[in-house]
């Protein structure tokens, strides 16, 4: 046991880890075939590769199938309550900015009950990484539709005649919440997901990653239309900073007609790569426009929509405290108490 002390700040060489270091002794309790396994697998690999001390990593989650994530990652973990993970994570990070804080959440957890904390965590640019497992369904409570379920979906449980709620677009919403890092991947796109998680880890500030995740029990094949191997290339466009928006093995692209994006065939009507939108991770309005592209009218964009470095809330707060201490000196309790109009009784 030791008395509390300030965290140390000396930089350390990256640790050598393997995936196994990030596994726990807990039995993984997702349904066989659930997309969550693939995500966990990638995350554990990424964590190993990061080499960041695992005792300084904290996994925070809400409630949902996806929110069981912390139990399976051998770091500090906090399985909190429904929807509140971003707020809990904000507290963790503010209290100890040395920690690397990850949030695992679901479409219900983050966007339904937790929508407000999600939005405010992002706009504050608190340095946490939010992994949203979007299966467009409430898995844990057995299959009610969610705020990302497609309008009109017949849902056996709570919308037997079809949903009447327009869904939310998590990418648009996160951008409008001023998120500085916004990306999308798919559970089965292991390589892409790995790249994105690494970039997110490197990003200082809020990072938001939407991961399309298959719930094979209650919403099976929700994304197969564009993620199945035969269509994948034709129905996805991979966003790469500085590169034009090309897909279908280089045959097609997306260009702007005024402010309206449209799919074009390269080589047809004299269209070349030069006519296409060039992706720019530093242009939030472009990112927003791209977030509106969706299968089937467009290829589904996968990759990093936005990646801008801005001061994070924790940095701003630490700096402010440091500045005040520099200006006024470290707080002296005696001076604080013995202040204002005082009088002496002898």
């Amino acid at each position: 046991m030791v008395a509390p002390s300030q965290p140390q700040t000396s930089p350390q060489p990256p640790r050598k880890y393997t995936k196994i270091d990030f596994q726990t002794d807990q039995e993984v309790r997702w349904c066989p075939g659930c997309g969550d396994y693939a995500i966990l697998n990638v995350a554990q690999q990424v964590f190993a590769q990061l080499g960041f001390p695992k005792e300084k990593m904290v996994m925070v989650s809400g409630i949902g199938c996806s929110s069981r994530f912390p139990y399976y990652v051998n770091t500090y973990g906090f399985h909190t309550i429904h929807g509140r993970a971003p707020a809990v994570a904000t507290g963790v990070k503010l209290a100890n900015p040395e920690l690397q804080v990850w949030v695992a959440t679901g479409d219900g957890d983050a966007l339904s009950i937790g929508g407000n904390h999600f939005m405010h965590a992002l706009r504050r640019n608190i340095d946490i990484k939010i992994l949203l497992f979007n299966n467009r369904i409430y898995g844990l409570t057995k299959g009610q539709y969610s705020p990302t379920s497609v309008l009109g979906t017949i849902n056996d449980k709570t919308a037997p005649f079809g949903t009447v709620d327009q869904p939310l677009n998590p990418i648009s919403l996160s951008l409008a919440s001023e998120a500085t890092f916004v990306a999308r991947s798919v559970d089965v796109y292991a390589k892409r997901l790995m790249d994105i998680l690494k970039k997110a880890a490197e990003h200082k500030g809020s990072a938001f990653i939407e991961i399309y995740q298959n719930c094979n029990i209650y919403n099976d094949k929700a994304f197969d239309d564009f993620t199945d191997r035969p269509f994948r290339d034709d129905r996805n466009v991979m966003l790469e900073h500085g590169k034009p928006l090309i897909f279908a093995q280089g045959k097609k692209g997306i260009r702007l007609n005024g402010l309206k994006p449209e799919v074009v065939t390269l080589g047809e009507n004299g269209i070349t790569e030069k006519d296409l939108i060039v992706h720019d991770e530093h242009n939030p309005s472009l990112a927003y426009l791209l977030s509106r592209l969706n299968h089937p009218n467009f290829p589904e964009p996968i990759g990093v929509f936005r990646n801008d470095r801005m001061p994070s809330l924790d940095e701003r707060l630490e700096n402010q405290i440091a500045d005040v201490k520099k200006a006024k000196g470290e707080g002296d309790l005696r001076k604080l108490l013995f202040a204002g109009d005082m009088w002496e009784v002898k």
Binding site: M1, V2, A3, P4, S5, T24, Q26, P53, K54, E55, K56, M57, V58, V60, I63, P70, Y71, N74, T75, Y76, G77, F78, H79, T80, I81, R84, A87, V88, T90, G91, V92, K93, L94, A95, N96, E98, L99, N116, H117, H120, L317, Q320, I321, K325, K328, E330, G331, L333, R334, L336, L337, F338, A339, G340, D341, M342, W343, E344, V345, K346
Partner: protein, 626 residues
Amino acid sequence: MTPPSASNVAAPRKQETLDQVTIRFAGDSGDGMQVTGGHFTNTSAVLGNDLSTFPDFPAEIRAPAGSLPGVSGFQIQFSSKDIHTPGDRPDVLVAFNPAALKVNLSDMPDNSVIIVNSDSFGEVDLKKAGCKTNPLEDGTLDKFQAYKIPITELTMKALESIKFKEKDRPNKERNKNFFALGILYWIYSRPLDTTMKTIERNFAKKSNADRPIVLAAQTALKAGHAYAEATELFRSQYTVAPAKYEPGTYRNIAGNQAIALGLVAASKLSGLQLFYGSYPITPASSILEELSQRKAFGVKTFQAEDEIAAVTAAIGASFAGALAVTGTSGPGVALKSEAINLAVMTELPLVIVDIQRGGPSTGLPTKTEQADLLQAMYGRNSESPVAILAPSSPAECFTMAIEACRIAIKYMTPVFLLSDGYLANGAEPWKIPEPSSLPKIEVKFRTEKEGFAPYLRNEVTLSREWAIPGTPGLEHRIGGIEKSHIQGNVNYDAENHDFMCRIRAAKIQRIAQDIPELKVHGPQDATTLVIGWGSTYGAIRAAVEDCQARGLKVARAHVRHLNPFPANLGKVLSRYKKVLVPEMNLGQFLFLLRAKFLVDAKGVNKVQGKPFMISELIEVIEKEAR
């Protein structure tokens, strides 16, 4: 103690000595009543009087000028004796407009002093206050000693030579409160210097261009004093001698300020960083406001998007090893209740400050009440034990804030600190403690890997250990699902759940071994006990002492630890034939006493958004204790 310098006093008239005086300032919210009251308080404090204050704000920021809902009040009792309340009924009312007079008149005893600003009783003013006739003329004031003074006019005359900037000119007239204050300082033989200095200091940050503003305030104050001195209006001048205090350095303190200081102190005493997560709400906001000034102490304030984020961020901070506190009022507690349960289940230290106000729902947001006790006890799903403390006076908020932190950390538990609007804004003299005299709060983060288990418990306190992120080898996971004993893994077993529910309850009960026994004040042969909690302390004490002085066989006790109760509470209760429980609610503490001890106690209940009057309690005690 040095006697006040009798500055500015030229030709003394009849000099009388009083034990105690209660003054109420009342005017429009724009009239600066709180500022005026504040100055009077500080001056009286520095003078060595014991005192107690009661500010009473309107719910509106600025209700229509001159209207009844716009009346703002500030009451102070100052005394040469030990006092505990701001006084039942004022000896003096200073009313700045008809609305203020109308709203407060019913509280004034016959023959008391009423000073009015006669300049603000024009036709329009009267209409705004809904007066059909002019109370200055229709005989309303006949049974009082009424002084009708053209305060506005006199103030403006006094400030004639001071040149205000164009845009500030309309504000000149606002100095009438200082003029009135000057009058009162003369009547009650108060020196002007404390206020003069404070005015100077408050404007210190401003530029030289604002000099006329400082000058105007000071001039108005002096002019009022001189006016009282010069005119023959006031036949007597009074002295209220300093009270007898323990030696020490004193300052005046309001409850919320004391809580904020107590939390900073607890942070220093524990060596933990203070994290305060809050969402503004009346009457709790001033704690957040005070703490956001304390960056030099490394205090981290988080103005959250809502109460749920405020408490959950605090829980996150607690998990990460900070001294985590969240503050709010009743509606905010309701919103936080689901999350507080997470802290109960994960057994993390967390202090929840609840500055109670009138309810239910939005209720009477600026008024006081004591009706969140059962919410704190039971306002969460399932069996969810927490510790509950309640300070009994503004100054005690300081010590109780430290005590809440101590218990939270030692027992790894949420602790409620139940203050209320009356304590929050009311002020009293506080003997400033030497930081070195305050008890250290021991914190031991777990670091040894060997034998670590997240829900291993200390045998004495039954609390688990605090193992924080950043500690190599102690990586573990906690959460809101039921945990297995010792290992802390997710566990759905029937027996484990039953066991854990009981051990969580037992842990809170263990705190009873660690808190003072309840003290009873009164004669050995008392047959009636008056027992209270929280801010009713002053009124109960004054009322009981009054009855005792007249030989009634009545004792009193005040409970500061509401869960668990002091270990001897049951025994204490059993000694009396009659138990009276005054509360500003419909009988919540009463309910706990009855259920726990099967004692046929009787409630004395008032839900009026304002504290008990001493006389009300005396009346009840006299009736019941015979």
